[in-house]
Protein backbone atom coordinates (compact mmCIF):
# COMPACT_ATOMS: atom_id res chain seq x y z
CA UNK A 1 0.00 0.00 0.00
CA UNK A 2 1.33 3.39 -0.88
CA UNK A 3 -0.89 5.30 1.55
CA UNK A 4 0.60 7.58 4.13
CA UNK A 5 0.78 6.11 7.58
CA UNK A 6 -0.95 8.27 10.15
CA UNK A 7 -0.26 6.18 13.19
CA UNK A 8 1.66 3.03 13.67
CA UNK A 9 1.85 1.03 16.85
CA UNK A 10 4.71 -1.39 16.72
CA UNK A 11 5.38 -4.47 18.83
CA UNK A 12 2.98 -3.42 21.57
CA UNK A 13 2.90 -5.81 24.52
CA UNK A 14 0.81 -5.56 27.62
CA UNK A 15 0.27 -7.98 30.50
CA UNK A 16 -2.09 -7.85 33.42
CA UNK A 17 -0.34 -9.94 36.04
CA UNK A 18 -0.04 -13.31 34.29
CA UNK A 19 -2.55 -12.56 31.51
CA UNK A 20 -0.82 -11.55 28.31
CA UNK A 21 -3.42 -9.21 26.85
CA UNK A 22 -1.22 -8.07 23.96
CA UNK A 23 1.88 -9.73 22.52
CA UNK A 24 3.96 -7.79 20.03
CA UNK A 25 0.98 -6.33 18.23
CA UNK A 26 1.73 -4.15 15.23
CA UNK A 27 -1.17 -2.23 13.73
CA UNK A 28 -1.10 0.74 11.38
CA UNK A 29 -3.74 3.33 10.58
CA UNK A 30 -3.57 5.11 7.24
CA UNK A 31 -4.53 8.67 6.47
CA UNK A 32 -8.12 9.00 5.35
CA UNK A 33 -8.77 5.26 5.64
CA UNK A 34 -10.85 3.08 7.91
CA UNK A 35 -8.96 0.30 9.62
CA UNK A 36 -10.96 -2.40 11.34
CA UNK A 37 -9.88 -4.64 14.17
CA UNK A 38 -11.94 -7.76 14.73
CA UNK A 39 -11.48 -10.66 17.08
CA UNK A 40 -13.10 -12.76 19.76
CA UNK A 41 -13.94 -11.61 23.26
CA UNK A 42 -10.86 -11.09 25.34
CA UNK A 43 -8.51 -10.98 22.38
CA UNK A 44 -7.09 -7.64 23.51
CA UNK A 45 -8.87 -5.16 21.23
CA UNK A 46 -9.99 -2.77 23.95
CA UNK A 47 -6.63 -2.97 25.66
CA UNK A 48 -5.03 -1.92 22.40
CA UNK A 49 -7.45 0.99 21.95
CA UNK A 50 -6.76 2.18 25.49
CA UNK A 51 -3.04 2.17 24.80
CA UNK A 52 -3.48 4.22 21.63
CA UNK A 53 -5.67 6.74 23.44
CA UNK A 54 -3.07 7.18 26.14
CA UNK A 55 -5.15 5.88 29.02
CA UNK A 56 -3.12 2.70 29.46
CA UNK A 57 0.64 2.29 29.50
CA UNK A 58 2.09 -0.50 27.35
CA UNK A 59 4.83 -2.73 28.78
CA UNK A 60 6.71 -2.64 25.52
CA UNK A 61 6.48 -1.21 22.06
CA UNK A 62 6.43 2.14 20.39
CA UNK A 63 3.69 4.37 19.03
CA UNK A 64 4.54 6.58 16.08
CA UNK A 65 2.29 9.48 15.18
CA UNK A 66 3.55 11.56 12.29
CA UNK A 67 7.16 12.33 13.08
CA UNK A 68 6.84 11.77 16.82
CA UNK A 69 7.30 8.46 18.53
CA UNK A 70 6.22 7.62 22.03
CA UNK A 71 7.01 4.83 24.44
CA UNK A 72 4.44 6.17 26.82
CA UNK A 73 1.66 8.21 25.26
CA UNK A 74 -0.29 10.40 27.67
CA UNK A 75 -3.96 11.24 27.21
CA UNK A 76 -3.09 14.88 26.65
CA UNK A 77 -0.50 13.96 23.99
CA UNK A 78 -2.99 11.73 22.23
CA UNK A 79 -5.65 14.44 22.26
CA UNK A 80 -3.17 17.04 21.01
CA UNK A 81 -2.15 14.69 18.21
CA UNK A 82 -5.78 14.65 17.09
CA UNK A 83 -6.79 11.26 18.45
CA UNK A 84 -10.37 10.99 19.70
CA UNK A 85 -11.71 7.90 21.36
CA UNK A 86 -15.05 6.24 21.94
CA UNK A 87 -14.37 3.70 24.67
CA UNK A 88 -16.24 0.45 24.95
CA UNK A 89 -17.43 1.46 28.43
CA UNK A 90 -18.28 4.93 26.99
CA UNK A 91 -16.56 6.75 29.88
CA UNK A 92 -19.50 8.93 30.79
CA UNK A 93 -20.07 10.53 34.17
CA UNK A 94 -23.49 9.17 35.07
CA UNK A 95 -24.33 12.02 37.43
CA UNK A 96 -23.72 14.69 34.83
CA UNK A 97 -26.12 15.59 32.05
CA UNK A 98 -25.60 15.16 28.31
CA UNK A 99 -24.17 18.62 27.73
CA UNK A 100 -21.71 18.34 30.60
CA UNK A 101 -20.58 14.94 29.38
CA UNK A 102 -20.00 16.09 25.83
CA UNK A 103 -17.84 18.94 27.12
CA UNK A 104 -16.16 17.06 29.97
CA UNK A 105 -12.54 18.13 30.20
CA UNK A 106 -12.94 20.76 27.50
CA UNK A 107 -15.60 23.13 28.78
CA UNK A 108 -16.36 26.50 27.27
CA UNK A 109 -15.61 29.17 29.85
CA UNK A 110 -16.05 32.89 30.05
CA UNK A 111 -13.74 34.68 32.49
CA UNK A 112 -13.19 31.38 34.26
CA UNK A 113 -16.88 30.61 34.58
CA UNK A 114 -18.63 27.80 32.76
CA UNK A 115 -20.64 29.10 29.85
CA UNK A 116 -23.52 26.63 30.15
CA UNK A 117 -25.67 28.35 27.58
CA UNK A 118 -23.04 28.26 24.84
CA UNK A 119 -22.28 24.62 25.61
CA UNK A 120 -25.95 23.73 25.50
CA UNK A 121 -26.43 25.37 22.13
CA UNK A 122 -23.36 23.71 20.66
CA UNK A 123 -24.25 20.32 22.10
CA UNK A 124 -27.79 20.50 20.75
CA UNK A 125 -26.49 21.41 17.29
CA UNK A 126 -23.93 18.60 17.37
CA UNK A 127 -26.46 15.97 18.44
CA UNK A 128 -28.85 17.20 15.81
CA UNK A 129 -26.16 16.90 13.17
CA UNK A 130 -25.30 13.32 14.01
CA UNK A 131 -28.94 12.42 14.57
CA UNK A 132 -28.74 11.44 18.21
CA UNK A 133 -32.13 12.02 19.78
CA UNK A 134 -32.07 12.94 23.45
CA UNK A 135 -35.32 14.56 24.60
CA UNK A 136 -33.97 16.27 27.71
CA UNK A 137 -30.36 17.39 27.63
CA UNK A 138 -30.43 18.27 31.32
CA UNK A 139 -31.27 14.74 32.41
CA UNK A 140 -28.40 12.88 34.11
CA UNK A 141 -27.02 10.43 31.56
CA UNK A 142 -27.57 7.45 33.84
CA UNK A 143 -31.24 7.77 32.90
CA UNK A 144 -30.58 7.56 29.17
CA UNK A 145 -30.86 4.46 27.02
CA UNK A 146 -27.80 2.47 25.96
CA UNK A 147 -27.98 3.73 22.41
CA UNK A 148 -28.38 7.34 23.49
CA UNK A 149 -25.37 7.01 25.74
CA UNK A 150 -23.35 5.58 22.91
CA UNK A 151 -24.47 8.46 20.70
CA UNK A 152 -23.24 10.87 23.36
CA UNK A 153 -19.84 9.24 23.54
CA UNK A 154 -19.54 9.51 19.77
CA UNK A 155 -20.69 13.13 19.85
CA UNK A 156 -18.00 13.91 22.39
CA UNK A 157 -15.35 12.35 20.18
CA UNK A 158 -16.54 14.30 17.16
CA UNK A 159 -16.88 17.69 18.75
CA UNK A 160 -13.39 18.87 17.96
CA UNK A 161 -11.81 18.28 14.57
CA UNK A 162 -9.95 14.99 14.77
CA UNK A 163 -7.31 13.26 12.70
CA UNK A 164 -7.95 9.77 13.94
CA UNK A 165 -11.03 8.32 15.57
CA UNK A 166 -10.67 5.25 17.77
CA UNK A 167 -14.02 3.53 17.99
CA UNK A 168 -14.41 0.56 20.32
CA UNK A 169 -17.62 -1.17 19.25
CA UNK A 170 -19.42 2.12 18.66
CA UNK A 171 -22.72 0.58 17.62
CA UNK A 172 -22.95 -2.34 20.04
CA UNK A 173 -25.94 -0.91 21.92
CA UNK A 174 -27.66 0.74 18.98
CA UNK A 175 -30.80 -0.18 17.15
CA UNK A 176 -30.74 -1.06 13.44
CA UNK A 177 -31.64 2.43 12.34
CA UNK A 178 -29.21 4.23 14.66
CA UNK A 179 -26.47 1.81 13.85
CA UNK A 180 -26.97 2.41 10.12
CA UNK A 181 -26.95 6.17 10.75
CA UNK A 182 -23.72 5.91 12.68
CA UNK A 183 -22.09 3.87 9.94
CA UNK A 184 -23.29 6.38 7.38
CA UNK A 185 -21.77 9.12 9.49
CA UNK A 186 -18.47 7.32 9.74
CA UNK A 187 -18.46 7.01 5.94
CA UNK A 188 -19.07 10.73 5.69
CA UNK A 189 -16.23 11.46 8.10
CA UNK A 190 -13.96 9.29 6.02
CA UNK A 191 -14.82 11.36 2.95
CA UNK A 192 -13.87 14.40 5.01
CA UNK A 193 -10.49 12.77 5.47
CA UNK A 194 -10.76 11.61 9.07
CA UNK A 195 -9.02 8.30 9.58
CA UNK A 196 -10.66 5.70 11.79
CA UNK A 197 -9.69 2.64 13.72
CA UNK A 198 -12.81 0.70 14.49
CA UNK A 199 -13.30 -2.35 16.67
CA UNK A 200 -16.32 -4.39 15.76
CA UNK A 201 -17.82 -7.85 15.99
CA UNK A 202 -20.01 -7.30 12.97
CA UNK A 203 -18.29 -8.79 9.92
CA UNK A 204 -20.75 -7.32 7.39
CA UNK A 205 -20.40 -3.88 8.89
CA UNK A 206 -16.64 -4.13 8.73
CA UNK A 207 -16.65 -5.20 5.11
CA UNK A 208 -19.02 -2.36 4.30
CA UNK A 209 -16.82 0.44 5.51
CA UNK A 210 -13.27 -0.69 6.20
CA UNK A 211 -10.26 -0.51 3.91
CA UNK A 212 -7.99 -2.69 5.95
CA UNK A 213 -8.66 -5.46 8.45
CA UNK A 214 -6.70 -6.86 11.35
CA UNK A 215 -7.91 -10.02 13.03
CA UNK A 216 -6.79 -10.57 16.59
CA UNK A 217 -6.74 -13.63 18.76
CA UNK A 218 -5.36 -14.06 22.28
CA UNK A 219 -3.41 -10.84 22.12
CA UNK A 220 -1.80 -11.48 18.74
CA UNK A 221 -2.50 -10.29 15.24
CA UNK A 222 -3.67 -13.32 13.30
CA UNK A 223 -4.48 -11.75 9.95
CA UNK A 224 -3.44 -8.45 8.42
CA UNK A 225 -5.13 -7.84 5.08
CA UNK A 226 -6.65 -5.26 2.81
CA UNK A 227 -10.41 -5.65 2.44
CA UNK A 228 -10.08 -5.99 -1.31
CA UNK A 229 -7.86 -9.06 -0.89
CA UNK A 230 -10.30 -11.07 1.17
CA UNK A 231 -13.94 -11.92 1.77
CA UNK A 232 -16.03 -12.44 4.89
CA UNK A 233 -16.21 -16.16 4.17
CA UNK A 234 -12.48 -16.44 3.81
CA UNK A 235 -11.85 -14.61 7.08
CA UNK A 236 -14.43 -16.64 8.93
CA UNK A 237 -12.91 -19.83 7.71
CA UNK A 238 -9.44 -18.62 8.60
CA UNK A 239 -10.50 -17.74 12.12
CA UNK A 240 -12.22 -21.06 12.63
CA UNK A 241 -9.39 -23.07 11.14
CA UNK A 242 -6.85 -21.46 13.39
CA UNK A 243 -9.13 -22.34 16.25
CA UNK A 244 -9.06 -25.98 15.23
CA UNK A 245 -5.30 -25.99 14.93
CA UNK A 246 -5.06 -24.65 18.42
CA UNK A 247 -7.31 -27.32 19.83
CA UNK A 248 -5.89 -30.37 18.05
Amino acid sequence: MSDKILLSAENISKSFNHIKALQKVTIKAFEGKITAVIGDNGSGKSTFIKILSGSLEPDEGIIKIGTNSYHRLSVAQAINAGIRTVYQDLSLDNFKNSVENIFLGDEITRCGFLDRKAMRVEAAALLEEIKVRIPDLSEPVRNLSGGQRQGLAIARALRRPAKLLLLDEPTAAMGIQESAKTMEMLGMLKRKGIAQLIVSHNMEQVFDIADHIYVMRSGEVLVDTAVSDTSPEELRELILRREDERIF
Partner: protein, 337 residues
Protein backbone atom coordinates in the same frame (compact mmCIF):
# COMPACT_ATOMS: atom_id res chain seq x y z
CA UNK B 1 -63.05 43.27 26.91
CA UNK B 2 -63.17 39.75 25.54
CA UNK B 3 -59.71 40.10 24.03
CA UNK B 4 -58.36 41.21 27.35
CA UNK B 5 -59.63 38.11 29.06
CA UNK B 6 -58.26 35.94 26.28
CA UNK B 7 -54.82 37.32 26.78
CA UNK B 8 -54.98 36.95 30.51
CA UNK B 9 -56.07 33.35 30.20
CA UNK B 10 -53.12 32.67 27.95
CA UNK B 11 -50.84 34.53 30.30
CA UNK B 12 -52.21 32.56 33.20
CA UNK B 13 -51.48 29.32 31.45
CA UNK B 14 -48.02 30.56 30.56
CA UNK B 15 -47.39 31.57 34.14
CA UNK B 16 -48.75 28.23 35.33
CA UNK B 17 -46.38 26.37 33.04
CA UNK B 18 -43.48 28.50 34.15
CA UNK B 19 -44.39 27.94 37.77
CA UNK B 20 -44.59 24.20 37.24
CA UNK B 21 -41.17 24.23 35.61
CA UNK B 22 -39.65 26.16 38.49
CA UNK B 23 -41.29 23.92 41.06
CA UNK B 24 -40.10 20.87 39.17
CA UNK B 25 -36.59 22.27 39.17
CA UNK B 26 -36.73 22.98 42.89
CA UNK B 27 -38.08 19.51 43.54
CA UNK B 28 -35.30 17.97 41.50
CA UNK B 29 -32.36 20.04 42.68
CA UNK B 30 -33.32 21.31 46.08
CA UNK B 31 -35.58 18.70 47.61
CA UNK B 32 -33.33 17.99 50.58
CA UNK B 33 -32.71 21.66 51.43
CA UNK B 34 -36.43 22.39 51.21
CA UNK B 35 -37.23 19.44 53.45
CA UNK B 36 -34.60 20.57 55.93
CA UNK B 37 -35.88 24.15 55.92
CA UNK B 38 -39.35 22.85 56.74
CA UNK B 39 -37.82 20.90 59.60
CA UNK B 40 -36.01 24.02 60.83
CA UNK B 41 -39.22 26.06 60.73
CA UNK B 42 -41.18 23.40 62.58
CA UNK B 43 -38.59 23.19 65.32
CA UNK B 44 -38.32 26.97 65.53
CA UNK B 45 -42.07 27.39 65.87
CA UNK B 46 -42.20 24.67 68.49
CA UNK B 47 -39.36 26.19 70.49
CA UNK B 48 -40.75 29.71 70.20
CA UNK B 49 -44.04 28.57 71.66
CA UNK B 50 -42.72 26.26 74.32
CA UNK B 51 -39.77 28.30 75.61
CA UNK B 52 -39.27 31.95 76.40
CA UNK B 53 -35.65 32.47 75.54
CA UNK B 54 -35.59 30.89 72.08
CA UNK B 55 -37.34 33.58 70.11
CA UNK B 56 -34.80 36.38 70.29
CA UNK B 57 -32.17 37.82 68.02
CA UNK B 58 -29.57 37.12 70.65
CA UNK B 59 -30.33 33.43 70.61
CA UNK B 60 -30.17 33.23 66.82
CA UNK B 61 -26.80 34.94 66.93
CA UNK B 62 -25.82 32.51 69.62
CA UNK B 63 -26.69 29.55 67.39
CA UNK B 64 -24.71 30.98 64.50
CA UNK B 65 -21.70 31.66 66.69
CA UNK B 66 -21.71 28.23 68.26
CA UNK B 67 -21.85 26.56 64.82
CA UNK B 68 -19.65 28.71 62.63
CA UNK B 69 -16.68 26.35 62.77
CA UNK B 70 -18.93 23.33 62.21
CA UNK B 71 -20.29 25.11 59.16
CA UNK B 72 -16.80 25.63 57.78
CA UNK B 73 -15.84 22.00 58.35
CA UNK B 74 -19.04 20.74 56.77
CA UNK B 75 -18.52 22.81 53.62
CA UNK B 76 -15.09 21.26 53.19
CA UNK B 77 -16.41 17.81 53.93
CA UNK B 78 -19.16 18.31 51.36
CA UNK B 79 -16.49 18.86 48.68
CA UNK B 80 -14.57 15.80 49.86
CA UNK B 81 -17.63 13.56 49.83
CA UNK B 82 -18.75 14.92 46.46
CA UNK B 83 -15.36 13.87 45.10
CA UNK B 84 -16.11 10.31 46.20
CA UNK B 85 -13.71 10.39 49.13
CA UNK B 86 -13.95 10.90 52.87
CA UNK B 87 -11.65 12.61 55.35
CA UNK B 88 -11.50 11.29 58.90
CA UNK B 89 -8.48 13.38 59.84
CA UNK B 90 -10.38 16.68 59.99
CA UNK B 91 -10.54 16.84 63.78
CA UNK B 92 -6.85 16.01 64.09
CA UNK B 93 -5.88 18.68 61.57
CA UNK B 94 -8.06 21.14 63.45
CA UNK B 95 -6.29 20.43 66.70
CA UNK B 96 -2.79 20.44 65.22
CA UNK B 97 -3.18 23.71 63.36
CA UNK B 98 -4.64 25.33 66.48
CA UNK B 99 -1.63 24.13 68.48
CA UNK B 100 0.69 25.37 65.77
CA UNK B 101 -0.84 28.83 65.99
CA UNK B 102 -0.92 28.82 69.78
CA UNK B 103 2.70 27.78 70.15
CA UNK B 104 3.93 30.43 67.74
CA UNK B 105 1.80 32.96 69.62
CA UNK B 106 3.50 31.90 72.82
CA UNK B 107 6.85 32.42 71.05
CA UNK B 108 5.66 36.01 70.51
CA UNK B 109 5.81 35.91 66.76
CA UNK B 110 3.71 38.54 64.95
CA UNK B 111 0.08 37.54 65.15
CA UNK B 112 -0.52 37.48 61.40
CA UNK B 113 2.40 35.13 60.99
CA UNK B 114 1.07 32.84 63.71
CA UNK B 115 -2.28 32.56 62.00
CA UNK B 116 -0.58 32.02 58.68
CA UNK B 117 1.51 29.21 60.17
CA UNK B 118 -1.64 27.58 61.53
CA UNK B 119 -3.37 27.78 58.15
CA UNK B 120 -0.28 26.53 56.39
CA UNK B 121 0.13 23.52 58.66
CA UNK B 122 -3.48 22.51 58.11
CA UNK B 123 -3.22 22.93 54.35
CA UNK B 124 -0.01 20.91 54.22
CA UNK B 125 -1.66 18.10 56.17
CA UNK B 126 -4.53 18.19 53.71
CA UNK B 127 -2.10 18.02 50.81
CA UNK B 128 -0.40 15.01 52.41
CA UNK B 129 -3.79 13.29 52.63
CA UNK B 130 -4.50 14.10 49.00
CA UNK B 131 -1.12 12.91 47.75
CA UNK B 132 -1.41 9.67 49.70
CA UNK B 133 -4.93 9.01 48.44
CA UNK B 134 -3.97 9.77 44.86
CA UNK B 135 -0.66 7.97 44.80
CA UNK B 136 -1.67 4.79 46.61
CA UNK B 137 -5.27 4.55 45.29
CA UNK B 138 -6.13 3.04 48.64
CA UNK B 139 -9.56 3.81 50.06
CA UNK B 140 -9.43 7.34 51.56
CA UNK B 141 -11.26 6.01 54.60
CA UNK B 142 -8.20 3.95 55.52
CA UNK B 143 -5.63 6.57 54.53
CA UNK B 144 -7.25 9.36 56.52
CA UNK B 145 -7.94 7.05 59.45
CA UNK B 146 -4.21 6.43 59.58
CA UNK B 147 -3.24 10.08 59.14
CA UNK B 148 -5.83 11.12 61.69
CA UNK B 149 -3.99 9.06 64.32
CA UNK B 150 -0.66 10.37 63.09
CA UNK B 151 -1.72 14.04 63.16
CA UNK B 152 -3.32 13.63 66.58
CA UNK B 153 -0.16 11.91 67.72
CA UNK B 154 1.90 14.83 66.48
CA UNK B 155 -0.26 17.21 68.51
CA UNK B 156 0.27 15.07 71.60
CA UNK B 157 4.00 14.85 70.97
CA UNK B 158 4.38 18.59 70.50
CA UNK B 159 2.29 19.60 73.54
CA UNK B 160 3.05 16.55 75.67
CA UNK B 161 -0.68 16.47 76.27
CA UNK B 162 -0.73 19.81 78.06
CA UNK B 163 -3.16 22.43 76.68
CA UNK B 164 -1.63 25.68 75.45
CA UNK B 165 -3.67 28.34 77.26
CA UNK B 166 -3.82 32.07 77.97
CA UNK B 167 -3.50 33.18 74.37
CA UNK B 168 -2.90 36.90 73.76
CA UNK B 169 -5.94 39.15 73.76
CA UNK B 170 -5.12 40.42 70.27
CA UNK B 171 -5.45 36.88 68.88
CA UNK B 172 -8.77 36.37 70.58
CA UNK B 173 -9.85 39.67 69.09
CA UNK B 174 -9.23 38.29 65.59
CA UNK B 175 -10.42 34.75 66.23
CA UNK B 176 -13.68 35.57 67.95
CA UNK B 177 -13.94 39.35 68.16
CA UNK B 178 -16.93 41.32 67.08
CA UNK B 179 -17.74 41.88 63.41
CA UNK B 180 -21.23 43.10 62.53
CA UNK B 181 -22.32 42.36 66.07
CA UNK B 182 -21.30 38.70 65.81
CA UNK B 183 -18.17 36.71 66.44
CA UNK B 184 -15.77 36.88 63.53
CA UNK B 185 -16.18 33.13 62.99
CA UNK B 186 -19.69 33.73 61.68
CA UNK B 187 -18.34 36.19 59.15
CA UNK B 188 -15.62 33.72 58.18
CA UNK B 189 -18.19 30.97 57.63
CA UNK B 190 -20.35 33.35 55.65
CA UNK B 191 -17.46 34.47 53.44
CA UNK B 192 -16.42 30.87 52.84
CA UNK B 193 -19.92 29.81 51.82
CA UNK B 194 -20.30 32.80 49.50
CA UNK B 195 -16.89 32.13 47.97
CA UNK B 196 -17.77 28.46 47.46
CA UNK B 197 -20.90 29.20 45.44
CA UNK B 198 -19.16 30.27 42.20
CA UNK B 199 -16.32 27.79 42.63
CA UNK B 200 -18.60 24.87 43.27
CA UNK B 201 -21.44 25.61 40.87
CA UNK B 202 -20.06 27.73 38.08
CA UNK B 203 -16.43 26.81 37.59
CA UNK B 204 -14.50 23.83 36.28
CA UNK B 205 -13.21 22.98 39.73
CA UNK B 206 -16.63 22.13 41.12
CA UNK B 207 -17.54 20.17 38.01
CA UNK B 208 -14.33 18.13 38.07
CA UNK B 209 -14.62 17.50 41.79
CA UNK B 210 -18.03 15.98 41.15
CA UNK B 211 -16.66 13.86 38.30
CA UNK B 212 -13.96 12.53 40.61
CA UNK B 213 -16.84 11.01 42.50
CA UNK B 214 -18.91 10.19 39.41
CA UNK B 215 -16.34 8.59 37.11
CA UNK B 216 -12.70 9.52 37.73
CA UNK B 217 -11.50 7.27 34.91
CA UNK B 218 -13.69 9.12 32.41
CA UNK B 219 -12.37 12.44 33.68
CA UNK B 220 -8.83 11.25 33.15
CA UNK B 221 -9.61 9.96 29.69
CA UNK B 222 -10.91 13.41 28.79
CA UNK B 223 -7.43 14.76 29.38
CA UNK B 224 -7.99 16.24 32.84
CA UNK B 225 -5.09 16.01 35.26
CA UNK B 226 -7.08 14.38 38.04
CA UNK B 227 -4.26 14.57 40.60
CA UNK B 228 -4.64 18.35 40.70
CA UNK B 229 -8.24 18.09 41.75
CA UNK B 230 -7.84 15.13 44.07
CA UNK B 231 -5.07 16.91 45.96
CA UNK B 232 -6.67 20.35 45.90
CA UNK B 233 -9.91 19.13 47.41
CA UNK B 234 -8.03 17.58 50.32
CA UNK B 235 -5.91 20.73 50.59
CA UNK B 236 -9.08 22.81 50.80
CA UNK B 237 -10.38 20.54 53.54
CA UNK B 238 -7.13 20.93 55.44
CA UNK B 239 -7.23 24.68 55.04
CA UNK B 240 -10.82 24.90 56.24
CA UNK B 241 -10.04 22.62 59.17
CA UNK B 242 -7.25 24.98 60.23
CA UNK B 243 -9.58 27.99 59.93
CA UNK B 244 -11.95 26.15 62.25
CA UNK B 245 -9.04 25.30 64.53
CA UNK B 246 -8.16 28.95 64.91
CA UNK B 247 -11.76 29.92 65.61
CA UNK B 248 -12.14 27.14 68.18
CA UNK B 249 -8.92 27.96 69.99
CA UNK B 250 -9.78 31.65 70.09
CA UNK B 251 -13.21 30.88 71.53
CA UNK B 252 -11.84 28.51 74.15
CA UNK B 253 -8.72 30.60 74.73
CA UNK B 254 -6.71 27.42 74.50
CA UNK B 255 -5.40 24.86 72.06
CA UNK B 256 -5.08 21.24 73.01
CA UNK B 257 -4.41 17.91 71.43
CA UNK B 258 -7.87 16.63 72.24
CA UNK B 259 -9.68 19.49 70.51
CA UNK B 260 -11.85 18.59 67.58
CA UNK B 261 -12.54 15.00 68.62
CA UNK B 262 -15.38 13.58 66.53
CA UNK B 263 -15.69 16.82 64.57
CA UNK B 264 -15.32 14.90 61.32
CA UNK B 265 -18.30 12.76 62.25
CA UNK B 266 -20.45 15.82 62.88
CA UNK B 267 -19.39 17.21 59.52
CA UNK B 268 -20.05 13.95 57.66
CA UNK B 269 -23.41 13.72 59.38
CA UNK B 270 -24.40 17.22 58.23
CA UNK B 271 -23.23 16.58 54.67
CA UNK B 272 -25.21 13.37 54.34
CA UNK B 273 -28.26 14.87 55.99
CA UNK B 274 -27.98 17.75 53.54
CA UNK B 275 -28.55 15.38 50.64
CA UNK B 276 -25.06 14.64 49.34
CA UNK B 277 -24.75 10.96 48.51
CA UNK B 278 -21.94 9.12 50.26
CA UNK B 279 -20.72 7.69 46.95
CA UNK B 280 -20.16 11.19 45.61
CA UNK B 281 -20.76 12.46 42.11
CA UNK B 282 -23.06 15.27 43.14
CA UNK B 283 -22.97 17.57 46.13
CA UNK B 284 -25.40 19.83 47.86
CA UNK B 285 -23.84 22.99 49.27
CA UNK B 286 -27.07 24.55 50.46
CA UNK B 287 -28.32 21.30 51.91
CA UNK B 288 -25.12 21.02 53.94
CA UNK B 289 -25.37 24.58 55.23
CA UNK B 290 -28.97 24.12 56.28
CA UNK B 291 -28.25 20.75 57.85
CA UNK B 292 -25.55 22.28 60.03
CA UNK B 293 -27.98 24.99 61.04
CA UNK B 294 -30.66 22.41 61.79
CA UNK B 295 -28.32 20.42 63.97
CA UNK B 296 -27.32 23.61 65.78
CA UNK B 297 -30.96 24.49 66.25
CA UNK B 298 -31.70 21.16 67.84
CA UNK B 299 -28.67 21.38 70.09
CA UNK B 300 -29.73 24.88 71.13
CA UNK B 301 -33.33 23.86 71.70
CA UNK B 302 -32.37 20.93 73.87
CA UNK B 303 -30.06 23.14 75.91
CA UNK B 304 -32.75 25.77 76.39
CA UNK B 305 -35.23 23.12 77.43
CA UNK B 306 -32.47 21.88 79.74
CA UNK B 307 -32.48 18.39 78.27
CA UNK B 308 -29.31 16.51 79.13
CA UNK B 309 -26.60 16.55 76.49
CA UNK B 310 -26.72 12.76 76.50
CA UNK B 311 -29.97 12.97 74.59
CA UNK B 312 -28.45 15.25 71.97
CA UNK B 313 -26.23 12.52 70.60
CA UNK B 314 -29.11 10.12 70.39
CA UNK B 315 -31.33 12.62 68.62
CA UNK B 316 -28.62 13.61 66.15
CA UNK B 317 -28.07 9.97 65.27
CA UNK B 318 -31.78 9.32 64.87
CA UNK B 319 -32.12 12.31 62.59
CA UNK B 320 -29.24 11.20 60.42
CA UNK B 321 -30.90 7.81 60.12
CA UNK B 322 -34.19 9.43 59.10
CA UNK B 323 -32.45 11.64 56.57
CA UNK B 324 -30.63 8.82 54.83
CA UNK B 325 -33.70 6.60 54.82
CA UNK B 326 -35.77 9.37 53.23
CA UNK B 327 -33.03 10.05 50.67
CA UNK B 328 -32.69 6.37 49.85
CA UNK B 329 -36.43 5.91 49.41
CA UNK B 330 -36.61 8.93 47.15
CA UNK B 331 -33.71 7.67 45.07
CA UNK B 332 -35.26 4.23 44.71
CA UNK B 333 -38.57 5.69 43.64
CA UNK B 334 -36.81 7.84 41.06
CA UNK B 335 -34.98 4.80 39.72
CA UNK B 336 -38.10 2.70 39.39
CA UNK B 337 -40.57 5.38 38.34
Amino acid sequence: MKGYFDISAKRLKYMGDKMEKILGYIKKEFSSPVLLICFCLMISVFLSISTESFYSLKNVVNILEANSYRMILAVGMMCIITSGAIDLSVGSILSFSAICTAISLKAELPIALCILLGLLSGTVMGVINGVLVYATRINPLIITLATSYMYRGLSLMVTEGIPVTKLPESFREIGCGDIFGMESGVTAAFVIIIAMIPVFFFMKWGSYIASLGGNPEALKRCGVKTWKYRISVFALMGFLASVSGIIVSARLNSAEANAGLNMEMDAICAVIMGGTALHGGKGSLFGTVIAVFLMGLIRNGLTIMSVSSYYQQFITGAMLLCAVVIAELRERRARIG
